[in-house]
Each structure stands twice: as structure tokens, then as C-alpha cells.
């Protein structure tokens, strides 16, 4: 049988255990709104009764986390980051390519319309000027679309540069957490912070983390390049590079060693921005350039074969494009024709000035399949080219909705597992409070017994 002093020890142990419970509940309640916080619970262990009456001890604090769930969340965060940045970039470009007035489609239609109008009155100076204005507008629309695509690619570069900084910071945080967790008495919230940093890093880079047997988190990018290895974190850098058309190259820099990961980043916000910059935006620019080249070349061929009001043939309506690349940005009306609309080739070759065979031949181009490799009219190809950006935006938007729904589902699972419930914490607090009061009462009783004994003695 234990002595009274032993009972006092038992009561003191019980008070300490309930205090630990109150402290953990208090900490959970305090962190109810902390992002990434996983609820904790105190582990109470009954002490062995033999050879005396046992008590209770708070043997530790456990964290309600799941590495499997965290890994799934990082995977979904990567998808969400990628489709989010891709859809935002594509929707923004789509908006620039579809102005309420003056789109490439509108401009091509207006030029053909103006030529049809002029065909009915070749001597009308205002209609000739109208055709020159419509051709100028067509050039401006092509150039504006090309500029919008170039701007969108530069914007992607700016976002990538920002993201490299954020990713480097997050990688450093994970490495720091790895270091701290390996030390004595690590704070469990470091695990929450490390998980949160890994999720954010996955959302940015698309890379994945795993926790090794030594408890340290390792973060690897989709191409296999290691960003965080134990206590060591590499940095991501963005540098303008001529090999990427003067766009930024993404490197993983570890000490003096740099690895180019631009073409291997396959997920996250950076993967989305790279897919946009080097994928969809390049395709859009190439389609637009090809259309501008075909349009200017075909219109010029017919224009050169026909005669202006002065009877002269051999003039181009547009400045002839030297090559496909850059044709949209450089598209402009030939300065000779722009300065003198009488040089618009309305008449057939050798015909008098009132002839309109040239105008009819130019207008007939609208119905011919001279674009898209001879498969579409110019207007249909312009619609297809802009529509392709919109379709890609719609797909990315739809992928984003799926990723958001998956994130939402996983958030519910995580909440179910590790979220802090205020009701639960209040109940636990009351439970520990009552236990604490009981233990205090027990200590008081033992104290009274001791007093009685002392008085009797």
C-alpha cells in the first residue's frame, strides 16, 4: 500500500496530466484558423499499479496528420496550379484576341467588303480611301494580335520570375523545417508548416515531396531534379536566354551547379505558364503569322496582276512579307498605295480605269481556300486560329474546375482527420477541467489526511 506522500505524488501526476490536456486543447483552439494546422491530442498513460497504486502521465502529444493524404493533396495542388495559371493566361489572351471591334476576323471581312463596294464605283476617291483604310486596319489588327500574344508571353515570363522566388523561399523553409525536426524536442507544428510549404511548392512547381525514413522531406521536380534534399535546398532562378527566344530559362541552382529545368517542369503554376508560353501561345503566334503571310501574299499576287487608276500593274497592296515568322507583326499597307489610293488595283490589266475586274478578283479571294494549307478561307482560318485559343482556355477552365472539386474533396477528408473542431475542444476542455478539479480535490483530501496525522502525532 502506498503512503500518504505517495498518494500526493499520484495526485500531482494527475494534475500535470490534466494540465497537459488543457494546454493541448487550448493550443488547438488557438490555432483553429491557422492554415495547415493539424489538431493535436495528448496521450495519457496509466502508470503500472505494482508495486504501488499507479497514477497517470501525459506521455506525449500526437498530431492527426496523414502523409498519404498530404501526398494526394500535393498532387492535386500541382494540377490545380497548372490548370489555374494556364486558364488565366489563355483567357486573358483570348480576351485580347477578341476585341468587341477590330478583330482580325472583322478586319478581313471589312477589307473584302470595302473592295466589293469599290467595285461598283472605281472612280470614287472616298471608296478607294476606304479600301486603303480597311487594309491599314487589317494590318493593325494582325499586328495588335501578334503584340497581344508577345505581351502574354512576356507576362508569363514575369510570373515565372516571381514564382522562382516564391519556390526558392518555400524550398528553404522545407529544408529549415527538416533541420529543426531532426533536433531535440521538435515542435509538431513544424510538420504542419513543412507540409503546407510542400503543398505550396507543389502548386508552384508541380514537383512532389516524400518523407524519407529519417523523417526528412525530399522534394523532387517532375523532371527528377532534386530541389530539397534533407537540410539542403537548391534555388530556382529565371534568366533571359536567347536560346528561348529571349524568354526566361528556369534553372535549379545548387551551389555552383545549375540545371536547366525549363522543358521538364510539367505541373504547377510554373508548368502551366511554361505550357502557355512555349505551347499554346507559340501555336497561336505561328497560326497568326501563317495566316498573315498567306493573306498578304495572295492579296498581293492578285493586286500586282491588276491595274491602278493610272493603268499600271505590279504594285502590292501590303508590304510583301519576307517570311512567315513575324508576318503578322510586320503587316502594313504598301506606302506607295497608302499615299495614293488611286493605285489600288481595281481594273484588270490593260483595261481602262473604269474597269473593275481587279476588284472582283480581289474580292473573290474571300471565298477561296487559300489559308490553313489550302483547306480554309482566310476568314475561316482566322476564326479557327482564335477559336483554338478559346478552346484551349475552355479545356484549362474545365480542368481547373475538376482540380478545385478534387481539392475540395480532399479538404473535407483532411478536415475530418485533422481539422480543429471548437465543439470538440470545448468538450475536451471541460473534461480535462473536471478531471483537474477531481485531482485537486484528491490532493486536498490527501493533504487533510496528512494534516490530521500530523495533528494526531
Amino acid at each position: 500500500m502506498p503512503g500518504l506522500l505517495g498518494l500526493l505524488d499520484l495526485g500531482a501526476g494527475a494534475l500535470a496530466a490534466q494540465n497537459a490536456g488543457i494546454a493541448v486543447s487550448g493550443r488547438n483552439t488557438a490555432n483553429v484558423n491557422t492554415e495547415g494546422y493539424a489538431r493535436e491530442s495528448v496521450t495519457l498513460n496509466s502508470e503500472l499499479a505494482a508495486p504501488t497504486i499507479g497514477g497517470v502521465t501525459a506521455s506525449g502529444v500526437s498530431r492527426s496528420g496523414s502523409e498519404l493524404l498530404a501526398a494526394r493533396e500535393r498532387l492535386v495542388d500541382s494540377d490545380r496550379g497548372q490548370s489555374g495559371s494556364l486558364s488565366a493566361a489563355l483567357l486573358s489572351l483570348e480576351s485580347d484576341l477578341t476585341p468587341s471591334q477590330g478583330s482580325v476576323v472583322d478586319a478581313i471581312a471589312a477589307l473584302f467588303g470595302g473592295i466589293l463596294d469599290l467595285a461598283s464605283a472605281p472612280f470614287d476617291a472616298s471608296l478607294r480611301q476606304g479600301v486603303v483604310n480597311a487594309a491599314t486596319q487589317a494590318g493593325m489588327s494582325f499586328a495588335a494580335a501578334a503584340a497581344a500574344i508577345a505581351r502574354a508571353r512576356s507576362d508569363a515570363d514575369a510570373r515565372l520570375t516571381d514564382q522562382t522566388k516564391q519556390a526558392s523561399n518555400l524550398a528553404a523553409q522545407i529544408a529549415a523545417a527538416n533541420r529543426a525536426l531532426a533536433g531535440p524536442n521538435p515542435d509538431p507544428t513544424l510538420l504542419d508548416q513543412r507540409d503546407l510549404a510542400a503543398r505550396k511548392l507543389s502548386a508552384i512547381t508541380g514537383g512532389q515531396a516524400r518523407v524519407d525514413t529519417d523523417g526528412k522531406m525530399r522534394f523532387v521536380l517532375s523532371g527528377g531534379t532534386v530541389l530539397v534534399d534533407g537540410d539542403r535546398a537548391a534555388a530556382l532562378t529565371a534568366t533571359n536566354d536567347a536560346a528561348y527566344g529571349n524568354h526566361v530559362r528556369i534553372d535549379v541552382v545548387d551551389g555552383g551547379h545549375a540545371v536547366d529545368v525549363t522543358r521538364t517542369l510539367g505541373g504547377g503554376g510554373m508548368g502551366g505558364d511554361l505550357a502557355f508560353r512555349d505551347g499554346q501561345a507559340v501555336q497561336a503566334a505561328q497560326s497568326l503569322d501563317q495566316l498573315a503571310y498567306d493573306f498578304a501574299t495572295q492579296v498581293n499576287a492578285v493586286h500586282r496582276a491588276n491595274a491602278g487608276q493610272d493603268g499600271q500593274t505590279g504594285r502590292s497592296l501590303f508590304v510583301p512579307p519576307a517570311q512567315v515568322a513575324g508576318a503578322a507583326a510586320a503587316m502594313a499597307v504598301d506606302p506607295t498605295v497608302a499615299a495614293d489610293p488611286r493605285k489600288v488595283a481595281v481594273a484588270g490589266p490593260g483595261a481602262a480605269a473604269g474597269d473593275n475586274a481587279g476588284a472582283l478578283a480581289l474580292a473573290a479571294l474571300k471565298d477561296k481556300n487559300l489559308a490553313g494549307g489550302g483547306t480554309r478561307s482566310f476568314i475561316d482560318e482566322a476564326i479557327r486560329s482564335i477559336g483554338a485559343v478559346g478552346s484551349a482556355a475552355a479545356t484549362a477552365k474545365s480542368n481547373l474546375a475538376v482540380a478545385v472539386a478534387r481539392t475540395d474533396t480532399l479538404a473535407s477528408v483532411r478536415d475530418s482527420l485533422s481539422g480543429v473542431s471548437q465543439d470538440e475542444e470545448m468538450a475536451k476542455l471541460a473534461q480535462f477541467q473536471h478531471a483537474h478539479e477531481a485531482a485537486a480535490k484528491f490532493v486536498g483530501v490527501v493533504n487533510d489526511l496528512l494534516d490530521n496525522l500530523m495533528t494526531t502525532l
Partner: protein, 289 residues
């Protein structure tokens, strides 16, 4: 499943946010009248709308072209009418002065009148439009088609305009219709009448009546042909307008919001927003309690 207060609030705010987004989207569709504003809304509907809009632009320009061509044919008709009127007056004078009761002095005065009428007919045949094109010059519209002697210096070229997909119509009438190439030389006939009057030759005057009648018929035929071309343009324009209405319907069907369906969608979205707000208030009230 265990659901915490934080998650409940997240779900409630997410629900209200989604309902608000849907209401805003429905409101915007109704306000702008567009259910498809961008290709990402519905790529094929957007493409259909764009194609219809581009064809509308072309069709509208065909309409302007047809209207202008019709105005010009009207001016051609006026010019030919002026020539025809002169021919009628010259015929009357030829009949009048073919009578033996007139003497040489009377016929010499008559010759002066006929020459003045011939000048008026030439002025009419050399009519030009506001942009300076001579309407009876064929494709040589930059200069008067008839010289002072009544000789035709234009050409027989006619201008076609596009009135529909793959369909062109003639939109001009060259002054060669007044020359020997079309039958008789109208101004030559008038000159002959003036010469017969000046020569005091009643027999030649009477003989010229046959040519005058042929010239009058030739001008009338030319005017009839002009009328036919105007009618063809009118028919083409009617077809064009119907086609354009069809394009407007296609565009509207593909991209525009049906006001009733739009209002109904907005009402549904508003109700959903109200419901999600009510649920949110109740849940927050439960959490407070």
C-alpha cells in the same frame, strides 16, 4: 464524417460564392444579350456567330454596291431619256419642216434649233456622277464618252458587280448603245436632219424620219435594257436582304441570349443565391449557438 466549424464555414462561403458567381453570370448574359461572347464560352457557337457576322459585313457591302449601281443605272436612264426626248423633238421638227409650206429661211432656223437640241442630247449623254465618272463611257469613265462631233470615244465595256456568292450582275450601260454598233448612229441621225434643214431639202428630211424612228427605238431598247438591269439588281438585293436576315438569325441563335430563357435563368440563379444565403445564415447561427 467528422466536419469542423471551420470546414462548415468554408463550405457555406464556397456555396454562396458559387451561387453569386452563377447569378452574376446570368445577369451579365441578360444585360449584354450575349450567351456566347468568347470562344471559350462555346467554341463552335462562337465560330458560327463570327462566320455569320463576317458574311453580314460582306453582304452589307454588296447592298451598298447594289444601291450605288442602281443609282448609276438610274442616271444612265436619265441620260438616255434626255437623248430620247431630243429625238422626239427632232422628229417633230423633221415632220414639220418636211412640209412644203416652209421655205429655206424657215428650215435654216429649224436647223439651228436641231443643232441646239443635238448639243442638249450630247450634254445628256455626257452626264457624269458625283465622283466624276461619265455614266455612258463604258469603262473609260474618266472622260466624256461623246466628242463635240457626237462621235463615241468610250468603249463597249460593261461593269459587273458581285450581288451574291458566285453571282455577278451587269451594273452599267455603255454609250455604244447610241452608236451604229447597236443599229444607227443617234447623233449622226440628228446631224443629218440638221444638214437637210440647212440644205433646204424636204425630201432628205422626210427620208431621215426612218432613221429617227430607228434611233428612237434604239434608245427605247437601251432604256428597257437599263430597266431590266435595275430590276435584276432589285431582285438580287431582295434575295441579299433575305440572306442577311438569315445570317442575323443564325448569329442570334448561336450567340445571343433568348430574353425569356435569360430572365428565367437569372430568376433561378437569384433564388439559388437567396437559398444559399439563408442556409449560410442558419449555419452561422447554429455555430454561434
Amino acid at each position: 464524417m467528422r466536419v469542423t466549424e471551420t470546414r462548415m464555414i468554408d463550405m457555406v462561403t464556397g456555396g454562396v460564392s458559387r451561387a453569386r458567381e452563377q447569378a452574376a453570370d446570368a445577369g451579365q448574359k441578360l444585360q449584354t444579350g450575349l450567351k456566347v461572347a468568347r470562344p471559350s464560352d462555346d467554341a463552335s457557337a462562337w465560330a458560327e456567330g463570327q462566320r455569320a457576322a463576317a458574311r453580314q459585313v460582306v453582304s452589307q457591302n454588296r447592298g451598298s454596291s447594289i444601291a450605288r449601281a442602281r443609282d448609276r443605272l438610274n442616271e444612265v436612264d436619265g441620260a438616255l431619256g434626255g437623248v430620247g426626248s431630243v429625238l422626239a423633238q427632232v422628229t417633230e421638227l423633221a415632220v414639220q419642216f418636211g412640209n412644203d409650206t416652209y421655205n429655206a429661211t424657215d428650215r435654216a432656223e429649224g436647223a439651228k434649233v436641231v443643232l441646239a437640241l443635238r448639243d442638249a442630247a450630247l450634254a445628256s449623254a455626257n452626264a457624269s456622277t458625283g465622283d466624276g465618272e461619265y455614266v455612258l463611257a463604258g469603262t473609260k469613265g474618266g472622260a466624256p464618252p461623246f466628242d463635240a462631233g457626237g462621235n463615241y470615244v468610250g468603249d463597249a465595256g460593261a461593269r459587273n458587280i458581285e450581288v451574291g456568292d458566285g453571282k455577278n450582275l451587269v451594273s452599267t450601260m455603255p454609250g455604244s448603245a447610241l452608236t451604229a454598233a447597236a443599229g444607227v448612229d443617234v447623233f449622226g441621225v440628228i446631224a443629218k436632219v440638221a444638214a437637210a434643214l440647212d440644205a433646204n431639202d424636204p425630201a432628205a428630211l422626210r427620208a431621215s424620219l426612218t432613221d429617227l424612228r430607228a434611233a428612237t427605238a434604239q434608245v427605247a431598247d437601251a432604256r428597257a435594257e437599263v430597266g431590266g438591269r435595275m430590276k435584276a439588281l432589285d431582285s438580287a438585293d431582295e434575295i441579299r436582304q433575305n440572306f442577311e436576315e438569315g445570317l442575323a438569325s443564325t448569329k442570334a441563335r448561336a450567340t445571343e441570349t433568348d430574353p425569356i430563357a435569360g430572365a428565367s435563368e437569372l430568376a433561378r440563379a437569384s433564388s439559388a443565391l437567396d437559398a444559399s444565403r439563408t442556409v449560410a445564415q442558419q449555419i452561422i447561427s447554429i455555430l454561434r449557438g
